[in-house]
Symmetry: C2
Subunit: 198 residues, 2 copies
DNA sequence: TTCATTACTTAACATACATCAATTTTTCTG
DNA sequence: CAGAAAAATTGATGTATGTTAAGTAATGAA
């Protein structure tokens, strides 16, 4: 599991090679933890001292609005990192994290990246890259929410997370897309019809 | 203008003091540039080598969808940074940047933060903080787009950018909110009525 | 296996917002 | 300043998606 995490980091820094010694030194205190299905890993208002690198399983981050409605911000299957940037500044978190499937994750202390970059300076660009990626990911999502129809959103979701379509309950997908489960059901039916006719 | 930028950075690192020498060393090559109203600073597909710290004026970032419709991603008035994270990875940018008002901005080379942190290690947390801030900003926006009505979005906009309401044309605000100019006009009318009755 | 719960589907109806089109107001240009 | 262009408003109408409610299918616990 820690080895999987090493591979993940290695990919992110691309051409630079991370030696075993270097990785050992930065990964020394890392802990791996298991979570049951439906277990909540973080509550709104918590101030967790770590994020999660998902090795196996599936996590989700979601917020609950004033009307008690859930809004899913992100899914994190294998080899994704999920972490609440609010915690980094010692502000209370603004979302929940829970396990959609039984999950095994590496706990990444909030200062992990900074510490790692301090010890192994070549990791610095990687840290920036990770943050840039999540910014670009969100930018794309905002674009979609600004313009796309329910059907377009769903097609986009399938493309983005091809193997999640079966692992995530439909009502959660609907929530992620910003539509109701009923609407998603209709969209799926229409898509099926189109395929059938074609 | 460079001094204003210094103040901005100083605020972000909070308690740590940035000495004049330190600042001089990191700001050595920085350039300030003026842009006319409506001037386009970045086209989709460009690979700019810098972002912008706005000292005076007002910039916006927007994308254009397949149907030729603009979608505004961000406004950047005084003391905001606007930059395309795509450029950082040498990938073509995905949005336009233009000047809503005549603007003066510091050009921030893409590697500015990394270089600065290399020279003055105490800037490292600041760099992370800036990125975290923009992630949280976008998270909030996604939340809003997932759940809020046209009226709620507009009220939220007013709260977020109180002094932009008059500086930005309404159709741009509408675009930012993901609604049509006509809808925004009606929302405003209703809000005015509510106030009048109250 | 059976019962209870939760998820998904379907249909009828409601509504917020989009679209289209005409008018007024504001801004720009010579 | 006059005329043109762009922005904002207003009204009539359309439509995608939400809401409510009922029924069916899948899942989980005893």
């Amino acid at each position: 599991m820690i080895h999987q995490f090493k591979k993940y980091l290695q990919e992110k820094i691309e051409k630079i090679q991370l030696t075993d010694e270097q990785f050992e030194s930065i990964s020394a205190g890392l802990k791996v933890k298991k979570f049951e299905k439906n277990e909540i890993l973080q509550y709104t208002g918590d101030n967790l001292k770590h994020g999660f690198f998902v090795g196996k399983g599936l996590l989700r981050a979601y917020s609950v609005d004033a009307k008690g409605k859930e809004h899913i911000l992100q899914f994190a299957p294998e080899n994704w990192i999920i972490s609440d940037r609010n915690n980094m500044n010692n502000e209370p978190s603004i979302f929940f994290i829970d396990a959609i499937e039984a999950t095994e994750a590496v706990l990444m202390p909030n200062n992990f990246m900074e510490e790692a970059a301090r010890q192994v300076p070549c990791l610095h660009p990687m840290q920036i890259k990770l943050l840039n990626n999540s910014i670009r990911f969100m930018q794309k999502r905002i674009n979609m929410l600004l313009s796309a129809t329910a059907e377009e959103r769903y097609l986009d979701f399938i493309k983005l997370y091809p193997n999640l379509t079966l692992r995530v309950p439909q009502w959660m997908i609907a929530s992620y897309l910003g539509i109701t489960p009923e609407s998603l059901s209709r969209v799926r039916k229409e898509l099926a019809n189109k395929h059938f006719k074609a």
